[in-house]
């Protein structure tokens, strides 16, 4: 039968118009089915499609207006020039701290305009300030269950608690256990004792503040300020389903978020459980991956956000892992948004975060409205490069990988071990953050990514890989002596993690 979905749509619409036709359901179905069966086969010739597209694009050069250009950040200016944003209202030019913004705007991206080569160790020790290094936002495991942005620190050795699960088998705390990562891949060697580390150059030339702030002269004497710079601006689209655009000139980043005042929220009017239940999303509400990606693609095209240095969009479906392993699927929280990640590519290598997930431009698609409600990771693409000492001792690296990429606490008594198997690694560029006392620097450095080839059975396990940096400074930062002790319970004694040196 052709397109059963279409048949059902047609029939349900028909019965809404003339309910009495429902009495003749079988015959109505037969007629519509017959009509669809008689639909001519009219497959379009792909060569014709391509040729016409080329012709149209050539003609578009003559007909469509020339793109507006921006010397540093072309796509964003283009988006601003779009008539849809004509109603943009300048809300604020704030001087808030830039680090808070990093939580929702964490990835460098597109328009790689150049890499400046510097001498060795030009950025100083890379393992500076371990305490702050994890606050950058991109290092953790994003579950894609409600907006993203805020990362959860990866703690591979912590067993998942199952207090909320209704299944009695899962409701009992199983006691402490550790994952034991067993390497099952091929033997390999590492020969480079020096590797390049890239640091993103962040700032964008800010606009002339005086011209933007003209109206403020009514409140105080703007000219009394000296050496004024614009740190960030916040723009909104004053229309239904409009966006709020945040431009951070210091960080060199841009993010889009829904202008929530202009988005409908009928569920917020609910005052009883039945109402909440009515607006609750079901698994059947989740569009196919292809549909979600198509929505994200359209958004990027519409707002002129280039993806030249990005791979194709990929769905972040970690929530499905939790869904698949949940016995009580009826009460599972289906996320309001699904993230599509367009992995960044630098020097022909895909960028991963420390948890082994690709990172780049992230587009959140709102499932309820079937619209994009947020995008971040749009950033400057200039880098400085400097060589640093790299680890070449494979045995040492594999020993560290056996802990899951992060130091595990060592218990005095024997505890349960659950095996995770890893395969042959690939060399990647890994994004890390370093706190320099003022802001988080974004670094791209070579690392090994070991794919998880066999996950533990009978429990949710979200990691697809274990990554380990090759730069010695970053290795020492991760495994260095004197790191914070992790306490699971007051009666549990924990020993110091082993040194890497």
């Amino acid at each position: 039968m052709k397109n059963p979905h279409n048949i059902e749509n047609i029939i349900s619409e028909l019965y809404a118009i003339e309910p009495e036709l429902r009495e003749h359901d079988s015959k109505i179905r037969e007629i519509i089915t017959a009509m669809l069966a008689g639909k001519p086969q009219a497959d379009i010739n792909p060569t014709f499609v391509e040729n016409l597209k080329v012709k149209l694009l050539e003609k578009a050069d003559q007909i469509l207006p020339t793109n507006h250009s921006m010397k540093f950040f072309n796509p964003i200016q283009k988006a601003f020039a779009v008539p849809a944003l004509a109603g943009l209202t300048l809300i604020t030019i704030a001087t808030i701290g830039v680090t808070s913004f990093l939580n929702t705007s964490s990835s460098p991206s597109k328009n790689l305009s150049g890499i400046t080569m510097l001498g060795s160790n030009a950025f100083g020790p890379l393992n500076a300030d371990i305490r702050e290094a994890g606050k950058g936002g991109g290092a953790g495991l994003q579950l894609g269950m409600g907006g993203g942005g805020n990362a959860v620190a990866t703690a591979p050795a912590i067993a998942p608690l199952a207090d909320d699960a209704e299944d009695t088998k899962l409701s009992i705390w199983p006691g402490p256990f550790q994952y034991e990562y067993v390497y099952k891949g091929e033997t390999f060697t590492l020969t480079d004792s020096k590797v390049p580390v890239l640091r993103r150059i962040k700032s964008i030339t800010s606009p002339n503040s005086t011209s933007i702030l003209g109206p403020i002269n009514n409140f105080f004497n703007l000219s009394a300020l000296s050496n004024i710079q614009t740190q960030n601006i916040n723009l909104i689209e004053n229309r239904d389903f409009g966006y709020m655009v945040y431009v951070d000139y210091i960080e060199g980043t841009v993010s889009f978020n829904a202008n929530w005042q202009k988005w409908p929220h009928p569920e917020q009017e609910c005052r009883d459980e039945a109402c909440y239940a009515r607006y609750r999303l079901n698994i059947s509400d989740v569009p196919s991956d292809a549909e979600v990606i198509a929505l994200a693609d359209s958004f990027l095209v519409a707002y002129g956000i280039k993806t030249d240095n990005m791979n194709k969009g990929m769905i972040r479906n970690e929530w499905r892992t939790a869904y698949d392993s949940t016995p009580d699927k009826n009460n599972f929280y289906v996320p309001e948004v699904i993230s599509v990640v367009y992995p960044q590519i630098v020097n022909n290598e895909i960028i991963y975060d420390e948890a082994g997930f690709t990172t780049g431009i992230t587009v959140n698609v709102n499932i309820r409205h079937k619209k994009v409600d947020g995008t971040w990771g749009i950033a400057t693409q200039n880098y400085e490069s400097s060589e640093y000492d790299a680890e070449t001792n494979v045995e040492k690296l594999l020993a560290l990988v056996g802990q899951g990429g992060y130091p595990q606490p060592i218990y005095e008594q024997e505890i349960k071990k659950i095996q995770v198997e890893l395969g042959t690694p690939e060399k990647i560029l890994m994004k890390t953050y370093r706190w320099n006392g003022i802001t988080n620097e974004e670094l791209l450095s070579p690392a090994l990514r070991f794919p998880v080839t066999k996950k533990p059975e009978g429990q949710p396990y979200f990691q697809d890989s274990v990554t380990i940096p090759l730069v010695q400074d970053l290795l020492n930062q991760r495994y260095g002596v004197g790191g914070p002790m992790i306490m699971y319970s007051s009666d549990m004694k924990i020993a110091t993690p082993p040194s890497t040196t």
Binding site: I44, L56, L57, L64, S298, V301
Partner: protein
Amino acid sequence: METTIDHNQLVLAAQNGDKQAFAKLYDIFAKRIYQYFAYRLNNRDIAEDLTSQTFIKSLEKIANYNTRKGNFSSWIYTIARNTLIDHVRADHHIHDLEEIWNLSSPTNLNTEIEHRIEREKILQILSKLPTNTKDIVMMRVWDELSYQEIATLTGKSESACKMTFSRALTTLKNNLPLPLLIFFLSQTYEKST
């Protein structure tokens, strides 16, 4: 899944000079517009020619398209429909879209004899309907257009289009000869196996 707002976002980008946005619209609608012609004319070459004309016209006119006044789908189908009418008038000296139904193209789109027979049979069924009704049935069943889009194309109200469609089904229900129905069902069965 594309939505009206997404199409309009692409239109806005195209109006601002982003030709890739127009290319994306083309990717979304090329097959649908081609099929719109192919279903009605049953001739591949002419369908391709009219598809080209439709998209070139849409490119030339996109600057004037107002995203607040409608949706892109209705707009481009309107261009297609007018292009079809122009073609038929020029080639056959006819002045009414109704007469398109009476044309018999010598160069069929479908080479398979069975499918030609099938199409002729379905045209027999549809011939029992008034032309405007037939057009609405085709747009809804074959082109998979929404009633809103059909209303824009035909200049009728959405509720009138719905009523026309339901009346058409009632007519067919009462008049469809059983042997013909069995024939179509057998065709459907063969396709699904």
